[in-house]
């Protein structure tokens, strides 16, 4: 696969028998010999280790955390200044129309901000941050560190064997921890709906740490296939699919990510790209909404499936933006956009599959309850 980048764990993936595929410019493991279904179930029951080193890690440094936070608030509709030290939060980059350019996680690391962005968007995100924040704030991509995710109910016990500090963190805490001699920047968060950690480590020590974690009986290597079905069951958005530049935060169901202080009447209301449009949607509601969808029967409905209000006649009312089989749910699950008046859980709509309209029930997200250590 020419011109594709490799993460520091490439050799390990190949050694484990992973099926490697191109993803966001990287050669990534889509599944291991265990297979997507068993990898998914293993993560829900024990612990899965994911290589997410393709994601972008970026440090923002100003005179102080507050200086970096105030500057960063010009780019995101989120309370950055009010985030406590050692805490992490979800954020969104917006364009001038309020459309979502990327979603991200950021942390207050005391004297700087640590940001994690999607692989496919990272070049653009970094360029945008540099253009908007420099020279007052230094924007430094972290290119010498890998990123691992250890997810699942056994994650705490597994990581605690390497450092007791792991057990002392709660959901969305961030710490620097010594994991058996490796300086790790650890957050208690992830993308599966399970308890777990994301672990940033020096690239040259990533392989050693991954092997140590995989040596634990409860840990299996998990590929992108199961990562996708896990996050779908958890109701989490996949950038470029469930959210993109054509979706605004409110219609995407991400209003919770915009704290009161940044909304109308808040102390630092607006002041981010697309502020007018986003605050208007908060006030007036959005004409459409992202919802969970459960197709009746067993046939999966995937991205692109058109949705209808009626079993016959009428035009397309929306589309599925993510969909597939949910191994924990034991049936097909999907997300998509529907008009606000059809967004109430329990509403029956129809998805067209192979020329036939099949009933789909609007369902509260997540499909599988989150299992965080709050």
């Amino acid at each position: 696969m020419a011109d594709l980048l490799r993460t520091p764990l490439y050799d390990l993936h190949v050694e484990l028998g992973a099926k490697m595929v191109p993803f966001a410019g990287y050669e990534m493991p889509v599944q291991y010999p265990l297979g997507v279904m068993k990898e998914h179930t293993h993560t829900r029951e024990k612990a899965g280790l994911f290589d997410v080193s393709h994601m972008g890690q970026v440090i923002l440094r100003g005179e102080s955390y507050d200086a970096a936070a105030r500057a960063f608030e010009r780019l995101v509709p989120v309370d950055v200044l009010g985030l406590g030290e050692g805490r992490q939060r979800y954020g969104l980059f917006l364009n001038e129309q309020g459309g979502i350019l990327d979603d991200l996680m950021f942390a207050n690391r005391g004297d700087h901000l640590f940001v994690v962005v999607n692989a496919a968007c990272k070049a653009q995100d970094i360029a945008n941050m540099k253009a908007a924040l420099e020279p007052d704030i230094r924007v430094t991509p972290v290119e010498d560190r890998a990123l691992l995710a250890l997810q699942g109910p056994a994650a705490e016990a597994v990581l605690t064997e390497l450092s007791p500090d792991a057990a002392n963190m709660r959901f969305m805490d961030v710490r620097t921890i010594d994991l058996d001699g490796v300086e790790a920047w650890v957050s208690r968060s992830g993308y599966t709906g399970e308890d777990g950690y994301e672990i940033s480590v020096p690239a040259d020590q990533a392989d050693q740490l991954a092997r140590k974690l995989l040596a634990h009986d409860d840990v299996q290597a998990i590929g992108l296939g199961a990562r996708d079905s896990l996050r779908l069951e958890a109701g989490l958005c996949l950038y470029g699919h469930d959210i993109d530049t054509d979706t605004l935060p409110v219609e995407a169901g991400l209003i919770w990510a915009i704290q009161k202080v940044r909304r109308s009447g808040g102390e630092r209301s607006g002041g981010f790209p697309g502020g007018q449009q986003v605050l208007a949607q908060i006030a007036d509601g959005a004409p459409r909404k992202r919802v969970g969808l459960r197709p009746d029967g067993r046939a999966p409905m995937r991205e692109g499936v058109e949705l209808f209000a009626e079993a016959e006649g009428g035009g397309v009312i929306g589309k599925i933006t993510s969909g597939g089989f949910g191994p924990t749910v034991g049936g097909p699950v999907a997300m998509g956009y529907v008009p606000a008046e059809l967004a109430a859980p329990g509403t029956t709509i129809y998805g067209e599959l192979r020329g036939k309209r099949q009933p789909v029930t609007v369902t509260k997200l997540p499909f599988v309850a989150a299992n965080f250590k709050r």
Binding site: G35, V36, M37, A299, G324, P332
Partner: protein, 119 residues
């Protein structure tokens, strides 16, 4: 047993042909989660889409290998699609058909040719 380029296996059973997919195809598909089988009694033409098979990754179609009639389908498989991965050439047969003409069977690959085909 004969093989198609669509990775189906075809087994002559008296005047019937039993159709399934090969272990290679099952592995390529990944975990199978959904199957839609044709109705018994359906008349089909060669290359008609007769079975929909969905894995965790994608949907694909199984084509009728010959002209003829679908005389029996493996209904039990619909409730346990994972059998396609566990036993693709045994329990997980899809349907049996009565071909109107058996001669196209000669054009399909034998096992050695199929092994070459999948490399």
């Amino acid at each position: 047993m004969k093989y198609t380029e669509e990775h189906e296996w075809l087994l002559e059973e008296g005047e019937l042909i039993v159709v399934g997919i090969t272990a290679f195809a099952a592995e390529q598909l990944g975990d199978v989660v959904f199957l839609e089988l044709p109705d018994e009694g359906t008349e089909v033409s060669k290359d008609d889409e007769v079975v929909v098979i969905e894995s965790v990754k994608a949907a694909s179609d199984i084509l009728a290998p010959l002209d003829g009639e679908i005389v029996e389908v493996n209904d039990a498989l619909v409730a346990t699609p994972g059998k396609v991965n566990e036993d693709p050439t045994g329990e997980a047969w899809f349907f049996k058909m009565k071909p109107s003409d058996l001669s196209p069977m000669d054009d399909y690959m034998d096992e050695a040719a199929y092994k070459d085909f999948i490399g």
